[in-house]
C-alpha cells in the first residue's frame, strides 16, 4: 500500500534545565497507520508528543506537516493543523455534558446550538463505532466513556493525526479491545494514530510500526510484523550498565513484614492493587520495579497507613522474644497495655504485672532491662492510621515520592521539619525544640546538607539536599522498616550515591528496606531481591544478583504472563 508521510520531525531536541528530555529525534508518521511509541518511564515519549500537540515548544529541530514546515506554539495551533492529543489526564469539564465539552472552544459555528452538536457527535460515534450519550454529564461517566469524549472532541475538530498518551492504562480488557477496534476503523479512514505505551502485547496487536525511545533518543523504528516481545524489550532497556554501588551480602535476614493479598481500589473505582503478597526481610533491600503508576505508591501508602484497603493483611513481625522492653518507641501507656495482656515476663520466666505500681516504679523496672517480651511481637497494621502505628511502637519509616508535598513542609526550616516526627514529645502543650535542633545539626553535618542554616525553609534547598534531610529524618527514627519511593529521582550522581550508601547502612543494621525505583540498573545494583509489579499485580520476584534487565523489563510490561515465583535468594 502506498502511503504518504503525514508528519515528520527532524532533529527535535528539548531540554528542561540541564536534563535533556529529547535529543535530536527524527520521526515520520504515515497517513493511515498506527504508530506506537515505546519506551521506559522518563524516556521522553510524552515530551516528544507534547511538542506536536503544542504543550511544549522544541528547543531545536523542525516539524513538517505533509511536507510543509510548521510552527506549533499552542494546543490551538495544533488543532488548526488537525493534530489532536488525548492526554493521560483527561482535559474535561466535569460539570458539562459530553456535547458541551466537545463543542467547547470550537470557532466555526456561529450559534450555540446543542441539538446540532448532539447530532454531529452521534454521527461521528456511529462512523467509528463509539457508544456515547452526548447529554450525559462527565462526572457521571466511567473512565472509558471520558476517553471516548476526548477522542470525539479531537475528531469533531477534524483532526487527522491523533495522539493517545497511554490510552489503555485505565481501561478494562474489554474496553481496550473496543478502543482498538475504533482505532483500526480510524486508520482505515486514513487517519494517522500515534499511541504512547509500554505494553508490549498491545504494541504487537494494534500497531503497524513501532518507534523505540530510550533516554530521550530515538533508537529505532521497526515494522511490527518483524518485531517480537524480546527484541522490543532489548531495544527498550538497552545494555546493562554496572554501577559502583557497595552491596554487601545480607546478614541473617529475618522476616519483618508480611504483606498478604492486598487489594485496593482507587477513588475512580479502578483496582490499583490486586492480591499483592510479599515478605520483606530485615537486613536486605527489597526492590520494587514497575512502570510508573502500576500501584507502587498505593502499596507503600497502604503499609504506611495512608491508603484504605479493600482486602488483605499487613503483618509486622518484631522478633522480641526474651528481649528487654524499651521506651525508645513504646510509650508508657503502650507498655502498660501490653503488660495487662500478659505480654511480658522477667528474667526467670515469671509473668509480670504492674498491678499496684505507680508510673515511676514501672519506668524504673522497665529501664533496668529486666522486663522481657514473652513472645515475638506480631501486629496487624491494616486499617491503622500512621499515628496508631506509631503508638503501637512499630518503627516504620516512609520516604514518600512527593518530598515537599508529603515528606516535608517546604516553608519550614530543617528543625521544624524534624519536629514533625517528634511533636508529641515534651511536656503537655509544649514542644521540645532542643532535640530536633540537635538532630538537624547532626543531619547537616553528617549528610553534608548544603544549607545556609537550620532555619532556612527546606523549599529553598536543592532536590538532593531536600532528600538528604528527609531520609536523614526517617533514619534518625531508627526504623525497623524503611520504605523509600524513588528516593533518587531528580538527584545528581553524588547525591544519589549518598542515598544508596545510607540505604545500605540501614540494611547492614538489620532494617528491612523497601526501595521503589525506576532505573533498572540501580535496582539490580542496589537491591537483594526485586519484586516486579505490573498493573497492580505482582508478576515476579527475582534475585537481583542474577536477574537480567530484559527479564525484569518483560515482567514489567507483559500482561498475560502468570506471576512466576523465582528462586528465593535467602
Amino acid at each position: 500500500m502506498e502511503k504518504s508521510i503525514a508528519l515528520s520531525m527532524r532533529g527535535i531536541t528539548k531540554r528542561f534545565g540541564s536534563v535533556v528530555a529529547n535529543n535530536h529525534v527524527d520521526l515520520d508518521v504515515y497517513q493511515g497507520e498506527i504508530l506506537s511509541i515505546l519506551g521506559e518511564n522518563g524516556c521522553g515519549k510524552t515530551t516528544l508528543m507534547n511538542m506536536i500537540a503544542g504543550i511544549y515548544f522544541p528547543d531545536e529541530g523542525k516539524i513538517y506537516k505533509e511536507g510543509q514546515e510548521v510552527v506549533i506554539r499552542s494546543p490551538k495551533d495544533a488543532f488548526d493543523l488537525k493534530i489532536g492529543m488525548i492526554h493521560q489526564h483527561f482535559k474535561l469539564v466535569d460539570l458539562f455534558t459530553a456535547a458541551e465539552n466537545i463543542v467547547l472552544g470550537v470557532k466555526q459555528e456561529n450559534a450555540y446550538n446543542l441539538k446540532d452538536v448532539n447530532n454531529r457527535v452521534s454521527e461521528i460515534a456511529q462512523k467509528y463505532g463509539f457508544h456515547i450519550d452526548p447529554r450525559k454529564k462527565i462526572y457521571d461517566m466511567s473512565v472509558s466513556e471520558k476517553q471516548t469524549v476526548e477522542i470525539i472532541k479531537v475528531l469533531y475538530r477534524g483532526a487527522d493525526i491523533l495522539i493517545l498518551d497511554e490510552p489503555t492504562a485505565v481501561l478494562t480488557p474489554q474496553e481496550i479491545e473496543r478502543l482498538f477496534n475504533v482505532l483500526k476503523r480510524m486508520k482505515e479512514d486514513g487517519k494517522s494514530i500515534i499511541i504512547i505505551t509500554h505494553k508490549l502485547h498491545e504494541v504487537l496487536s494494534v500497531s503497524d510500526r513501532v518507534a523505540i525511545l530510550r533516554k530521550g533518543e530515538h533508537i529505532a523504528t521497526v515494522e511490527t510484523k518483524d518485531a517480537t516481545e524480546s527484541s522490543l524489550t532489548e531495544m527498550m532497556v538497552g545494555k546493562k550498565i554496572t554501577l559502583n554501588i557497595d552491596r554487601s551480602e545480607p546478614k541473617n535476614p529475618q522476616p519483618r513484614l508480611f504483606v498478604k493479598n492486598l487489594n485496593c481500589v482507587d477513588p475512580e473505582g479502578i483496582q490499583v492493587l490486586k492480591d499483592v503478597s510479599f515478605t520483606a526481610n530485615g537486613g536486605e533491600i527489597l526492590g520494587i520495579a514497575g512502570i510508573a503508576g502500576s500501584g507502587q505508591r498505593e502499596l507503600l501508602e497502604a503499609i504506611a497507613g495512608l491508603q484504605p484497603l479493600t482486602g488483605g493483611e499487613i503483618i509486622f513481625h518484631n522478633p522480641k522474644k526474651d528481649q528487654p522492653v524499651t521506651f525508645f518507641h513504646k510509650s508508657l501507656n503502650r507498655v502498660k497495655e501490653l503488660a495487662s495482656q500478659e505480654a511480658f515476663h522477667d528474667e526467670y520466666g515469671n509473668p509480670i504485672s504492674f498491678g499496684g505500681m505507680n508510673n515511676k516504679q514501672i519506668r524504673g523496672w522497665v529501664e533496668s532491662g529486666k522486663v522481657l517480651f514473652k513472645e515475638d511481637e506480631v501486629m496487624n497494621l491494616r486499617d491503622k492510621t500512621p499515628l496508631e502505628i506509631r503508638e503501637l511502637g512499630v518503627r516504620l519509616s516512609f520516604v514518600p515520592e512527593d518530598r515537599l508535598g508529603m515528606g516535608l513542609v517546604g516553608s519550614m526550616g530543617i528543625t521544624d521539619n524534624m519536629m514533625l516526627r517528634s511533636y508529641r514529645k515534651g511536656p503537655a502543650g509544649f514542644v521540645d525544640r532542643k532535640k530536633p535542633r540537635q538532630l538537624a545539626d547532626e543531619i547537616i553535618r553528617e549528610l553534608e546538607v548544603a544549607t545556609p542554616g537550620v532555619n532556612t525553609p527546606v523549599r529553598r534547598l536543592s532536590g538532593g539536599n531536600v532528600q538528604k534531610v528527609l531520609v536523614g529524618r526517617e533514619i534518625a527514627f531508627a526504623p525497623k522498616v524503611l520504605m523509600a519511593a524513588y528516593p533518587v529521582r531528580g538527584l545528581d550522581i553524588n547525591s544519589s550515591y549518598t542515598i544508596y550508601n545510607l540505604l545500605n547502612k540501614q540494611k547492614e543494621k538489620g532494617v528491612a528496606v523497601i526501595f521503589v525505583g525506576e532505573d533498572l540498573d540501580v535496582l539490580l545494583g542496589l537491591c537483594d531481591r526485586i519484586l516486579v509489579i505490573n498493573s497492580g499485580k505482582i508478576t515476579g520476584l527475582v534475585d537481583a544478583r542474577t536477574a537480567t534487565k530484559e527479564e525484569i523489563g518483560l515482567m514489567m510490561t507483559q500482561t498475560d504472563t502468570p506471576a512466576k515465583e523465582a528462586v528465593p535468594c535467602v
Binding site: 504543550i55 499552542s74 494546543p75 490551538k76 488543532f79 482535559k91 474535561l92 469539564v93 466535569d94 460539570l95 458539562f96 458541551e100 463543542v103 467547547l104 472552544g105 470550537v106 470557532k107 450559534a111 450555540y112 454529564k137 462526572y139 472532541k153
Partner: protein, 317 residues
Amino acid sequence: MNVWLNFLIDSLAFGATFMYGSTGEILTEKAGHLNLGIPGIMCMGGAGGCLVLNLVGNSNLPGFLIVILGILGAFFMSVLMGLIYSFLTITLRANQNVTGLALTTFGVGLMKVIFSKLDSVVYLVGPKELYRWPFAGRTDALQCLGVMFFLAVIIALLASWVLFRTKVGLHLRAVGENPGTADAVGINVTRYKYVATMVGSGIAGLGGFYYIIDYMASMEAYLSLEAFGWLSIALVIFALWRPHMTIIGSTVFGFLFSCSSYITNISWINVTMAAKPLLKMLPYIVTILVLIVTSIRNKREDQPPQSLGLPYFREER
C-alpha cells in the same frame, strides 16, 4: 394595603441592593475568582455615582441624563476597583482572599472620605422621582420599585441567560471550572477572567449606588453599605451560583434582614430592642442552612466552580 404585601414589596426593593451585589459576584466566581472585595466595590460604586451627581446635580442637564450619568459613574468607579483586583489576582496571581479583603478595607475607607467631602443636598435632591419611575408619585409601597430595581432584575436574568444559554457563558463556566481545559481548547482564559471580574464588579457597584440614592435616599445611608456587601457574598451561596436565583434570594434576604423592624408591629410576637440585632443574623443563618443542605445533597450542579480561588498558571500543566 395589606401590611404583609407592603412588607414583601419593601423586601423586593431592599433586596435589589444584594441582587446587584451577588449577580456581580456570581459572574466573578464563575470565572474562578472569589472576590471578597465586593463590599468595598459596592461602597466605591455608591461613592462614584454620588461624586458624579455632585458634579452634574446643579447643572442644566435634563433629569434623565443626570440619572444615567450617575449610574455610569457608579459603574465605572467599580469597574476600576475590579481592574485593580483583576490585575492583582489574574496577572500577578496574588492571593484572592487577601486581595479582596484589602480592597474592601480600601473601598470602605475611601468611600467615607469621599462622602465627607460631598454635599448631600446636591446629590440627594437630584431628579429623585425619575429613579422611581414608573410608580413615582404613588403613595403605597409600590413607589419603592423604580428604574434601578427593574434594572437589577433585568441584569440578573440577562446574566443567567448569558451564563447558561450562550457560548460565551459556556466558555466562561469552563474557565471557572477547569482553566487548563479551557486553555487547551483555545479559550483566552485571561481575557475571560478579566472581563468577567470587571463587569461583575461594575454590576456589584450599582448596588451601592442604588441603596444610597434610590432605596434610602438619605445622607447616612452609606454607613451601612459594607454590611450589605457581605450579605451579597452570602447570597451567592444561597442562590447556588445562579444569577436568576438572586431575585428570589435577595427578596428572602431583604425580608429576613428587615423583619426585625416589622415584627415589633405584630402584637403576638414580643421583640425587645435588644433582640433586634439577633434577628438581623437571620440571613446568615439561612445561608449556613443552605450550605448544609447543599453539602448533604452533594449535587454537582449546586457546588461552587471547581477552580474557585485557585490561580491559573499555564506552565503548571
